[in-house]
Symmetry: C2
Subunit: 447 residues, 2 copies
């Protein structure tokens, strides 16, 4: 009997736990689901006889030590900042660790020690990072290993979106399907990528104006804006001779220009506390970034300041969010980013029956027999509901599948890993496909 | 005999040391000028029999301790980061300290201990901060104490500029009269001020587009853009009921829109190292912030990206700086800000005979007998040469005068101070006036 400990039973852990409960019956697993909120853990366990829900406080050293020592495999769905602590304990106790988070420097340094103890610390095994790595490496390995050719260009975009709904008048076609704070802060820092052999940099305040349009057959157009540091994928995927390397985020058309209003105003700034937040209204929040002018309206000042049409789609998008209302923000203090998040939550919090949609798109260019060829691969996954969301499934299933394959003895890698080796991506992508998460690939010849 | 130690003999210390040498003869002072570069210290001492030049390494604990213990008064013209260390030693040794730098938190906490030991730690006693405090507080005290009235609005602008020169074709009318790195990084962070009772915020990427024009009779028009945090002057000057409080920086017309090109590109970013700096040319530097496009020129891409006229003054200003040349940058590594500084130094380093100009301008509004009144005060000071610059004099003379008055026993304040009390500003402003640094005040009644 294998004992699996799941730390964290929040929204993104739902599909993972469901998968483990289903697979665990035949495989004779014993699963413990631990969360600060016992009720959350109990909801996820659903009375399964192979699972136990426990109330858990990560800051309780005795409890976290005892729990980790009592299991064979640990899956951490906790906020990423806790992973080094959990990993340290796993190392000490000799337990394997699985996460969907980026490998931090604190995690990376444990590689050798984990290898020495024969432990696997698998990270970045969710959606993004996760499925992006696996689906990209499958094609990259095909071009490099099967064909023996070099990659000329690689672009990759992912978006966590709302599924299209004709009855929804939300002009953003966007809602909070994941952490609202991360949505507000998305894109901060400088973007770095390489295009046709030239290093390129985009500052945050220009990012949302430099999107490109991406078309996915059957799903229409999306706006893609660049992610922070694409250059690091030169190392991660060993793409050292590549001429174009670009990773980005997808939104529906119109989003980036409307969101850019907040960026231009400074409304996403998280570096200082605003004055007078307890009495502030939505309208006053916007006005605090505009010049003083006793005669013009906030709407007119905003349109004039940013060169927008007073009756155009960006002003309308802000209007739909209630940003011009004299409605109290409802916070006692906050940075601009915190105030904006609070206002956005009022309209972007999605109802329990609202379906989300995950869209992932890759482009690979390579030269074969003197001709430039392009492979495009796209996956579009639609959720069933807020609790059975596409986000939860695409984050949780890769982790669940990886754990199953690992416990079956099919994975031999040890140390700190991400799923870029065939022994990870092949079985995970295959099983995801049987669950309906499939990449549609097409190959064309460029002129 | 009083012993004065001057730490740092760089460009900004010239006028201070000259003043101390002149005043010190009659007053029987013994002056030590200490600098990492002995030659710099020797040049400043000019063979005076009351002064000694010494080679000095701030990181040599034994030397800095011995030097401070051997003097009565310490003036630190070192970079501000060393001031807490120097202040700590002064406290230990029981020595008074004078600086022209902002009071840091590390300095502020020494207030009580300095008072207990009967020591004066006078900071912010140069130009800006320094003369700005003194000239503003003189008028503020006049309105508040003499008239018993409240201030309604206070605005204050300072610029370290080049003196007008009809033979100079520099379209920026600007050069490095002070620290080039600080010029490149100027304005970073969020601007905060209050206008007509409303708190206002400007993000860095919008700062240089929101300048206002200021006219100084006899000197023409200047562009003023906001300094980082005007709100702190509510506490510093005790202006808690003020409706408008705005501090800013002056540049000559056309500067801010041309400088904004660098801000928009991200060329002043100091947070990451660029790739390929050793082989980079000026033109490639600019191109790295622009989209890839094999057919358009860098100039055209830049004009299009930022909505500028291809033949307009901003593109011309960059052209004058050589930014479109395929000339090697000449650095082995660097952030965008460091690369830009290196390029700017090639054209903005001023010749030894080039005169600089300091411009300071204040506005004070207050209500008297039901009528709103406005006082404007302006000082324009022109340097003699690069070594006898207006900057050096306006930074050094207030410090020198303060030291003289202190040693004469005319200053009774102790602890960590800035020159906002009459016992500081009155004698310093009076003596500055005899040296030709005079504020012209005018008062008008507003409609």
């Amino acid at each position: 009997m294998e004992k699996i400990l799941v730390l964290g039973a929040g929204r993104s852990a739902g599909s993972l736990i469901k998968y483990l409960l289903e697979e665990g019956k035949a495989a004779d697993w014993q699963i413990t689901v631990a969360d600060y909120a016992l009720q959350l853990a109990e909801e996820k366990v659903q009375g399964s006889h192979i699972a136990t829900a426990v109330a858990f406080n990560i800051n309780d050293e005795a409890q976290r030590t005892a729990l980790i020592y009592a299991h064979d495999v640990v899956v951490s769905m906790l906020p990423a900042k806790f992973h080094p602590m959990v990993a340290g304990l796993c190392l000490q106790a000799g337990k394997h660790l699985f996460t969907a988070s980026y490998v931090s420097d604190d995690m990376r340094v444990l590689d050798e020690a984990a290898k020495k103890k024969g432990l696997l610390f698998l990270n970045e095994c969710g959606l993004d990072p996760g499925i992006d790595h696996m689906s990209a490496m499958k094609v990259i390995d095909h071009i490099r290993k099967d064909k023996g050719l070099d990659l000329y260009a690689f672009e990759s975009f992912t978006g966590g979106l709302l599924a299209p709904d004709p009855n929804d008048d939300n002009p953003w076609q966007y809602g909070f399907t994941w952490n609202p704070r991360n949505v507000v802060l998305a894109g901060q820092g400088t973007v770095k990528f390489i295009q046709e052999g030239k290093y390129k940099y985009i500052p945050y305040h220009r990012l949302f104006r430099r999107h490109e349009m991406i078309h996915i057959p059957g799903h229409g157009y999306f706006e893609g804006y660049a992610n922070r540091d694409s250059l690091k994928y030169m190392d991660v995927y060993a793409l050292h001779n590549i001429q174009t390397l670009f990773r980005g985020t997808l939104r529906r058309p119109g989003f980036t220009k409307a969101w850019d209003v907040f960026v231009q105003l400074g409304a996403t700034d998280d570096t200082y506390e605003m004055e007078g937040v307890p009495e502030m209204t939505h309208r006053q929040f916007i006005n605090s970034f505009l010049s003083y002018n006793p005669t013009d309206s906030v709407e007119l000042k905003l349109a004039h300041y940013l060169g927008l049409d007073r009756e155009g789609p960006e002003i309308h998008a802000l209007q739909w969010l209630g940003l011009f209302e004299e409605e109290p923000v409802g916070l006692m203090k906050g940075t601009p980013a915190q105030v904006l998040e609070q206002i956005l939550k009022k309209k972007w919090t999605i109802s329990a029956d609202r379906k989300d949609q995950i869209v992932m798109w890759h482009l690979f260019d390579y030269k074969e027999n003197g001709k430039m060829k392009r492979i495009r691969a796209a996956m579009v996954a639609t959720g069933e509901s807020a609790s059975q969301s596409a986000m939860s499934k695409t984050v949780g299933l890769p982790l669940g599948i990886a754990i199953k394959r690992f416990l079956n003895g099919e994975i031999v890698s040890r140390g700190v890993q991400i799923p870029i080796l065939p022994e990870f991506y092949q079985p995970i992508l295959d099983e995801l496909q049987t669950q309906g998460f499939q990449f549609i690939e097409e190959e064309i010849e460029l002129d």
